[in-house]
């Protein structure tokens, strides 16, 4: 009888311990479809072209830029300092050390941000939480930094200043500041003078009548 009670007690102890510990082990940081959905529909993963350009111009060492396009596309053009990691090789073992680290922030980019988003979903699913995505990809970077739209004369001072900042950033990425005003030189030229003739005014004769006073 005593042994039976002891056995029952031990079984209850083990079962309750397991049931109690399991939820504790599944901490809030564990990735579930629900937590993933919340992260996916949020726009927090995006970095703008302006912010990225600012990091790169300032040579911020905390940023690692990863180009997810093919090697051919990468060789044609890539944002300076970017590393090429084609999407098909994203999950290969040798790249996991680079992707799963806390020291640096990794920025994924592609032509627009669909491919980069897909790479982000996969790495987020693996628990890598130090990765962000360049919003609108290379197309957005071109329209914002490399060839920004000239603001109209009615644009605010902030817009004008932002344009100048973008043009200045463009120099860092290889686009010269080619909107400088044309050089105007003052030069005195000898041109055939226009002869201005002054015609004499014929004075009207004052006829003095004959006669005396």
């Amino acid at each position: 009888m005593k042994n039976k009670n002891l056995l029952l007690f031990l079984v209850l102890l083990v079962v309750s311990s397991v049931v109690f510990i399991v939820p504790l082990l599944t901490s809030d940081e564990e990735i579930t479809p629900s937590t993933q959905l919340a992260a996916f529909v949020s726009s927090e993963r995006y970095i703008s072209s302006d912010d990225l350009a600012n990091y790169l111009v300032n040579k911020d060492p905390s940023i690692v830029l990863i180009d997810l396009r093919t090697e051919a596309d990468f060789n044609s053009y890539h944002i300076p300092t970017a590393i090429n990691l084609p999407f098909d090789q994203l999950l290969s073992d040798e790249n996991q050390t680079l992707l799963n680290q806390q020291k640096q922030t990794i920025v994924f980019y592609s032509n627009d941000h669909l491919l980069a988003d897909n790479a982000w979903f996969l790495t987020n699913n693996l628990g890598y939480n130090n990765i962000i995505v360049l919003k609108d990809g290379l197309n957005g970077f071109y329209n914002t930094i490399l060839n920004p739209v000239l603001p109209t004369e009615l644009a605010s001072t902030e817009e004008q200043e932002l344009y100048l900042l973008r043009k200045a950033s463009g120099i860092f990425f290889g686009v010269p500041y080619n909107n400088a005003p044309e050089k105007v030189i003052d030069k005195v030229v000898e041109k055939p003078a226009v002869v201005k003739t002054v015609e004499p005014v014929k004075k009207v004769k004052v006829e003095i009548e004959e006669g005396g006073c």
Binding site: F9, L12, L13, S16, S17, V19, F20, I21, V22, P23, T32, P33, S34, Q36, L37, F40, V41, D73, S76, Y77, F87, D88, L90, L91, N111, D112, L114, L115, D117, N118, F121, L122, T123, N125, L126, L138, N139, Y142, N147, F173, G174, P176, N178, K183, D186, K187, V188, V189, K191, A193, V195, T197, V198, K202, K203, K205, V206, I208, E210, C213
Partner: protein, 209 residues
């Protein structure tokens, strides 16, 4: 109180405590939560096949009821303004709600495709990924941009991952030395020739006082 009663009392308290702790643990486990059915590696392979996107010209919208179900992931107000005919509205942030999942699982059982769309294919991809990972099959994303303007629901095909400008060429052209012609601003100094005015002699006629 003798020793036997005391030990019985302590055992009773202990058993009640164990039952309470166990109950708390059971309550804490969310048995209803969806679990991942596919690993990231499996989804990666799916994405590499590039079969998750479907172009609008590849579907027969008139026969949508029998072959596929279009799912609008936008807000209710966007959906109410305009949407594809026969589209089902399932708001993206709530896509894992039990009610929604049951609808999608039912569509799966009917062997129909589920075609997701939103403002852009990028917006719809997050729902595709999550639904795919929890085991919903036959999922596609419609490769279109949708926008409401001029009082109508407008759909335009979307070319994903196309570089719109040859950036290398643009930089090359920008760096060509510009031969800016000197703009000469002439300053003309006209010479003013003033012809002397000949004074005509006023002839005073003879006579007078």
């Amino acid at each position: 109180m003798n020793e036997i009663n005391l030990s019985k009392l302590l055992s009773g308290i202990l058993i009640v405590a164990i039952i309470l702790v166990g109950s708390y643990g059971l309550i804490s486990i969310d048995f209803s939560a969806e679990k991942f059915q596919k690993s990231p590696a499996e989804i990666h392979q799916q994405l590499l096949k590039n079969e998750h996107l479907i172009n609008i010209e590849d579907i027969n919208l008139k026969d949508s009821i029998n072959e596929f179900v279009l799912v609008d992931l936008r807000t209710k107000s966007d959906f109410d303004k305009g949407h594809f005919d026969n589209a089902l509205h399932l708001y993206a942030p709530n896509i894992l709600d039990k009610e929604y999942l049951n609808i999608l699982k039912k569509i799966n059982k009917e062997d129909k495709s589920i075609i997701l769309y939103s403002h852009t294919p990028q917006d719809a991809m997050s729902s595709w990924y999550v639904l795919n990972s929890v085991g919903i099959e036959n999922l596609k994303v419609l490769n279109v941009n949708t926008i409401f303007y001029n009082n109508s629901f407008n759909v335009t095909p979307f070319n994903t991952e196309i570089l719109k400008t040859d950036i290398a060429q643009f930089i090359k052209e920008s760096n060509k030395v510009k031969t800016v012609p000197e703009v000469i601003k002439p300053i003309i100094k006209p010479v003013q020739i003033v012809k002397p005015v000949k004074k005509e002699k006023v002839e005073v006629e003879e006579g007078g006082c």
